[in-house]
């Protein structure tokens, strides 16, 4: 799909294609101001970091609540499917059934484990969770995750926090072309121009954390990403005479 189709994940429509993470900010106040500035509609926070069972006393959860965005708790820190399930169950106990599945046993690059991610997606989808798996940009794994019941696909552009842009571009292009679920490029984007590039590649949305949170001025950086995404969306809708861009109508819609 692409920004040329409405974005619906787990039955919920999103008009803002910029999703944000909440790690690495200087404070809950800066985080809250950033979410407000970006008019963010989907925000992720690590279950290992926040107090999901006491949201009123947690600065990050308070910031998300005040922004009006949907909370997407993530399982960052989980090294295997079992640990991810345990964290997801904590989220459910706190009333949150949207899970960003993050399983990265690799301590250095925080790269997602495809095998454990598939196992956990199957289990959580069966339990009724809305599962958004963080995954390698692997088109075959994408099809397996679709079959396992994922609600969206979250392939990485580059390792978390690396700010290197779309290092996985070729595989992402195949993944996006074949996907029947929304594709949210997650991790590795460092500049708004890279976000625009991902939209032009056909991504439905982007999840940004480090590039915004670690900027000297996170509020301005969030606005910059928002502007870049909006600009790329507007450009695609204007249908430029450029080869290789997402088509306005998908074959599925044409046959429907």
């Amino acid at each position: 799909m692409s920004v040329l189709s409405p974005l619906v994940i787990g039955g919920q429509p999103f008009t803002n294609r910029l999703f944000l993470g909440t790690g690495k900010f200087a404070s809950g106040d800066v985080c809250a101001a950033t979410l407000r500035a970006a008019e963010c509609q989907l925000v992720t926070a690590a279950l290992t970091r926040v107090d999901a069972d006491a949201p009123a006393s947690d600065a990050i959860l308070r910031a998300i609540q005040a922004s009006g965005a949907r909370l997407l708790l993530n399982t960052s820190g989980a090294r295997n499917a079992e640990e991810a399930l345990r964290l997801a169950h904590l989220a459910k106990a706190a009333g949150c059934t949207w899970i960003k599945l993050e399983i990265h046993p690799d301590a250095r690059w925080l790269l997602p484990d495809p095998i454990e991610t598939l196992r956990a997606t199957e289990a959580l989808a069966r339990e009724g969770f809305t599962v958004l798996p963080y995954m390698p940009a692997d088109p075959v794994l994408a099809k397996r995750l679709e079959a396992a019941g994922a609600a969206a696909l979250m392939p990485l552009g580059a390792p978390i926090g690396s700010n290197r842009g779309l290092q996985t571009r070729e595989m992402l292009a195949i993944l996006i072309e074949q996907a029947t679920l929304p594709v949210v490029v997650d991790a590795g984007l460092g500049l708004p121009s890279q976000a625009a590039e991902a939209i032009e590649l056909g991504a439905d949305a982007l999840l940004i954390n480090t590039a915004v949170a670690a900027a000297r001025d996170p509020v301005s950086m969030a606005r910059a990403f928002r502007s870049a995404i909006d600009a790329a969306t507007l450009a695609l809708q204007a249908q430029p005479p450029v080869a290789g861009l997402p088509e306005p109508t998908s074959p599925l819609e044409a046959f429907a």
Binding site: G23, A26, S27, R49, R79, A107, W109
Partner: protein
């Protein structure tokens, strides 16, 4: 390819600072993880020449905390907001047994998110038991990577065995430990070759224990009761250069800085390169519930309370983190 340590160390200090700060921000953002050390025993059968816990210090009152004392210490630390603990003990297999260590997590209950160990090196099998009991992290300073110097500084006791100590992190990593801490003790000899050896040790561990996070510490030797005089003292600028160079050479590794260092230095380094700080340290056994300075392992430069450290970090627009965050 990341630059080598020697290339980095040759760079001008302002350039090192700017690059380290950028790397630190990209990986850790503005967060600083806080932990408190909990000294459970100062009994020791080693006789490290630079250490106050040495068995040769006959006048030092010896303490091993009882279960009730451990519970009270845990309560006192938890009251400061800290949720990450480093359990520290001297080496005395008669008192600090594997069973003693395995029982600790249950005594501390669910007050803490993360428990790490800085105790005598154990076997891989023992580390499996400790991991199952609830410990996730392990720290062991090699003190010196100089095989000839090592036995002269550690003349007796199990610590005399250089190779057994050198294999500690590898055994723990194979047993599932998630954070592996390593260091040399600065001041024992010329630091150049020690730093290269530390880097090589870390690279080996990153290959063999790819699931574990590497954590560097940079402890500087301080005066002790025994009157040990460091042969090659390390000054502030050298310490800073080393920390900045390691930050850049190992962007993904954690760097921790203890209360051995002064408040202003710690706060500044937290901004430039250190992602983890110890706080409110009482380096005596039972020191949180009943503060005293009679049985310390070394002297402290940063005696601020946890609340004071937290306030100082926030003033620098850093975000102190209490829950363990991988």
């Amino acid at each position: 390819m990341n630059p080598t340590l020697s290339e980095l160390l040759a760079r001008p200090l302002p350039e090192l600072r700017a690059e380290a700060r950028r790397v630190r921000l990209a990986r850790f953002g503005r967060t600083v993880a806080l932990f408190a050390p909990l000294y459970v025993s100062n009994r020791c059968i080693n006789a490290c020449r630079y250490c106050d816990f040495s068995s040769r210090h006959h006048t030092l009152p010896r303490v091993t905390l009882s279960p009730e004392e451990i519970r009270r210490e845990g309560e006192a630390i938890a009251a400061t907001g800290i949720r990450s603990l480093l359990i520290v003990a001297g080496e005395d297999p008669r008192h600090v047994t594997l069973d003693y260590l395995c029982a600790l997590p249950a005594l501390l209950g669910d007050r803490f998110e993360s428990l790490s160990l800085e105790v005598a090196p154990q076997s891989e099998e023992a580390y499996r038991a400790l991991f199952a009991a609830g410990y996730q992290g392990l720290t062991c300073f090699q003190e010196t990577y100089d095989r000839a110097l090592y036995p002269t500084l550690h003349p007796v006791g199990p610590k005399h065995d250089f190779a057994w100590r050198l294999g500690t992190q590898l055994r723990a990593g194979r047993a599932g430990f998630r954070t592996l801490g390593l260091a040399f003790l600065m001041g024992l000899r010329d630091w150049h070759s020690e730093a290269e050896a530390l880097a090589a040790h870390a690279r080996m561990l990153m290959k063999c224990c790819w699931q574990a996070r590497i954590q560097f510490a940079f402890p500087r030797i301080r005066p002790v009761d025994g009157g040990f005089i460091p042969a090659a003292p390390v000054d502030d600028e050298t310490l800073e250069r080393l920390m900045l160079a390691f930050r850049i050479a190992f962007p993904e590794a954690s760097i921790t800085l203890s209360t051995r260092e002064a408040p202003a230095f710690r706060d500044r380094m937290a901004e430039l390169c250190a992602d983890t700080l110890s706080v409110g340290s009482h380096i005596t056994s039972g020191g949180y519930a009943h503060p005293t300075d009679q049985t310390a392992q070394f002297s402290l430069a940063d005696t601020r309370s946890a609340a004071e450290v937290i306030a100082a970090l926030r003033a620098r627009h850093l975000d102190p983190v209490f829950k363990q965050w991988a």
